[in-house]
């Protein structure tokens, strides 16, 4: 079983089960995790599923693709570990992944 932990902007922690092959965005929506909007439904076209990958996970998750980096221009308060969660695929290697969600997406 793969688990992903979301920490919201107020500090509340939610750990949920994630299915291999789904995305960190889909996992959030499926489990009613707040602060992830995903207006475009996962097309890397809206920047409303912005997350901050916990620094210790950043190297394992990796950085954004060129297209994703472009879309991050439309997110707020972008940091070095910013990613769009629709572009992070859940794999066994990400079991235990921790991401923080920003206070405002859109």
């Amino acid at each position: 079983m793969i688990h992903v932990t979301y920490i919201d902007s107020k500090g509340t922690t939610r750990t949920v089960e994630a299915q291999e092959g789904s995305t960190v965005m889909e996992t959030a929506l499926r489990n009613s995790v707040p602060e992830i909007e995903a207006e475009c439904g996962g097309a890397c076209a809206c920047a409303t599923c912005h997350v901050y990958v916990a620094p210790e996970w950043s190297g394992i998750v990796g950085g954004p693709s060129q297209m994703e980096e472009d879309m991050l221009d439309f997110a707020f308060e972008v940091r070095p570990t910013s990613r769009l969660s629709c572009q992070i695929k859940v794999t066994p290697a990400l079991d235990g992944l921790v991401v923080n969600t920003p206070a405002k997406q859109g």
Binding site: E39, C40, G41, A43, A45, C46, A47, T48, E69, D70, M71, L72, D73, F74, A75, F76, E77, V78, P102, A103, K104, Q105, G106
Partner: protein, 345 residues
Amino acid sequence: MTEIIKTDALIVGAGPIGLFAVFELGLLDIKAQLVDILPKPGGQCAELYPEKPIYDIPGFPIITGQGIVDNLIKQIAPFGPRFHYNEMVEGLEILGTPEHPAFCVRTDADKVFEAKVVIVAAGGGSFQPKKPPIAGIDAYEGRSVFYAVRRIEPFRGKRVLIVGGGDSALDWVLNLHPVADRVTLLHRRDAFRAAPHSVNAMRALVADKKMDFVLGQVTGLKGEGGQLTAASVRGEDASVFDIACDTMLPFFGLTMKLGPIAGWGLNLHENLVPVDTEKFESNVPGIFAIGDINTYPGKLKLILSGFHEAALAAQKAFHYVYPDKKLLFQYTTSSTSLQKKLGVS
């Protein structure tokens, strides 16, 4: 006096479902006009993913967002729909009775429509500019912080701070730089998601010291009584500094908000309009909701579902528009009367 535009059906939203509704209504001799806040048809398909392939449109193994919009525009052309772009519907007044409904709808451009039926095909809501989460920004909005430029003249002689790295940001850098006292472009990285010729033109201006480009993100605003004097910025190296400015234009793209429809007296469930699955009508007789904006048991937010919903809503709309006529179900393959409407017989 404002001219009143009379129409059988007013369609709110010119996305794929609103466009296809024109077709289904048109086959039943119901004339339609469409209002959309975007400057073009297609809604999310055209605004969010024009080049992305869609694989689940029946009969099209693969088609792009823009491709399906272009096809729909061609498909509905015989019915001569009228489009009202860059406008958002605001107030709705119920004029008729539940048996014989009629509505008066006003837009933010002060256009007034009188329609027998209203079809809400507004998807995720209206596209509106994203507002950055900067403390106290509300106090400046409309006075010295703007999310769109309607007229260039008010920026004459001003120190203008433009924030963002997309086409809107670059376009306004180039358009305002001739009239502004000084234009500063602030962006989080030295790369842009904009037309290369705009980026080159901007870089040339910076090289000629005719404008400034700064790397960083806005963290706060300084000013008084809604008048901006400076923006606090966190630079690339985490240094914090101020950029003096009179006006700020943040361009962070668009987001979808339900908007004034929320005040129309429709039942809402989590910003969606509950409808029945026979007529796709809201709790207000004569107001229909089709596509992503509606909800019902088993609802799937798919374009193909919206097409089906448009066809069924049109059937009920016919009875409101032509209360004394009998509706005859016909196929476009065999009905000469339908083919005449389509201009193919």
